[in-house]
């Protein structure tokens, strides 16, 4: 039970960690000062959530591991984030598309996690849900602005949605830890979120004047630690300081 709960927490937290790192890459590189700060704020929100999850996971592990160890010192195959989260900031449309496709899921997920019988997880979910509601507002607005903007912005936004679409189905795959945690009434049954997810996503895409991709083929593997080529580079950035100067602190 404890091991399943530990793995279950990692499954939630790794999404926020990896997506947070991606958004953090825009610090100083955003398309405008205002969007730069907005993206970095989202990154910090996500890292804050990650800390709550990993502090709890470290306590469960009970073997001297700290939140930092869990965040920084695992190998690539030991990260269980969804593939969507690790996709690169190819251009601003990809950044927004990735955030949007994750945010809609994230809000649905946390809404359910609030009902968890695990009081720590339900408390974290209650705290995070306000932040994530804003993320949804931010990314949905930008999808509409870009989709309903110029010829060029529409084309780029459509490309990003089309490319990232193959990573959406994985959000609704159950892991072993999921199955155990659902029977304990601790975890969320993600398969039940799928229909509502695609309804909400489609509404926004339609409002943005974008086509809803029809792809029937989807990528998977992130939840089992089998990642796209992008994650290794991201981890090299994320882990560099801890690997080079072990145990360093700010």
């Amino acid at each position: 039970m404890k091991e399943h709960l530990y793995n279950y927490i990692l499954g939630i937290a790794d999404n926020s960690l990896i997506l947070g790192q991606r958004m953090g890459e825009l610090c100083g590189h955003g398309p405008s000062l205002e969007t730069d700060i907005a993206c970095t704020n989202i990154s910090l929100d996500l890292f804050g959530q990650v800390r709550s999850y990993f502090q709890y996971a470290a306590k469960l592990a009970g073997d001297g591991r700290t939140e930092d160890d869990i965040a920084m010192l695992r190998k690539e195959r030991e990260y269980v984030n969804v593939l969507l989260a690790e996709q690169p900031n190819t251009n601003f449309a990809y950044t927004i598309g990735r955030q949007f496709l994750f945010d809609i899921y994230h809000l649905l997920y946390l809404t359910e996690l609030q009902k968890s019988k695990d009081l720590t997880l339900s408390a974290i979910a209650k705290k995070c849900i306000k932040e994530v509601s804003y993320h949804v507002r931010f990314s949905s607005d930008w999808v509409k602005r870009l989709g309903d903007g110029t010829e060029e912005s529409k084309q780029k936004m459509q490309e990003a949605v089309d490319d990232l679409w193959v990573y959406t189905d994985e959000l609704f795959h159950q892991t072993e830890a999921d199955k155990v945690m659902i029977t304990e009434e601790v975890g969320v049954d993600v398969t039940k979120l799928k229909e509502e997810y695609y309804t909400r996503v489609s509404e926004i895409l339609e409002e943005a004047g974008l086509n809803i991709p029809e792809s029937k083929w989807f990528q998977k593997g992130g939840k089992q630690g089998i990642h796209t080529e992008h994650l290794g580079y991201l981890l090299a950035d994320l882990q560099y300081m801890q690997r080079t100067y072990p145990n360093m602190e700010w």
Binding site: S32, L33, E34, T35, I37, N41, Y134, F138, D141, R145
Partner: protein, 95 residues
């Protein structure tokens, strides 16, 4: 796009209920809705506010610094216009 840069907006933030909105700074945004979101991210991320107003900068009419003399100097030597000749009760705040 007609112009390359987004228009400039002036941002007013109310720090807490009961106080007035104060000018915090300015930023660029494509429209009022985006100006509000940008202001939220740029000016209130350290818990500075409970309410935000945005006004497009072009709608503000400002006094001309060249008119400083006629507008403001006459007030400088009229100390009796300040409410300093009586004691304010402690309960009156933000004066």
């Amino acid at each position: 796009m007609a112009t390359k840069d987004w228009p400039l907006w002036e941002i007013f933030v109310r720090s807490k209920n009961g106080l007035e909105h104060r000018h915090f700074g300015s930023l660029h945004a494509a429209d009022a809705e985006m100006a509000l979101e940008n202001a939220r991210d740029v000016y209130t991320r350290r818990n500075e506010g409970v309410s935000i107003w945005v006004v497009e900068s072009k709608h503000i009419t400002a006094s001309n610094p060249e008119n400083y003399g006629e507008l403001f100097e006459p007030a400088q030597d009229k100390v009796y216009r300040h409410p300093t000749f009586y004691d304010l009760p402690d309960e009156v705040k933000h004066m």
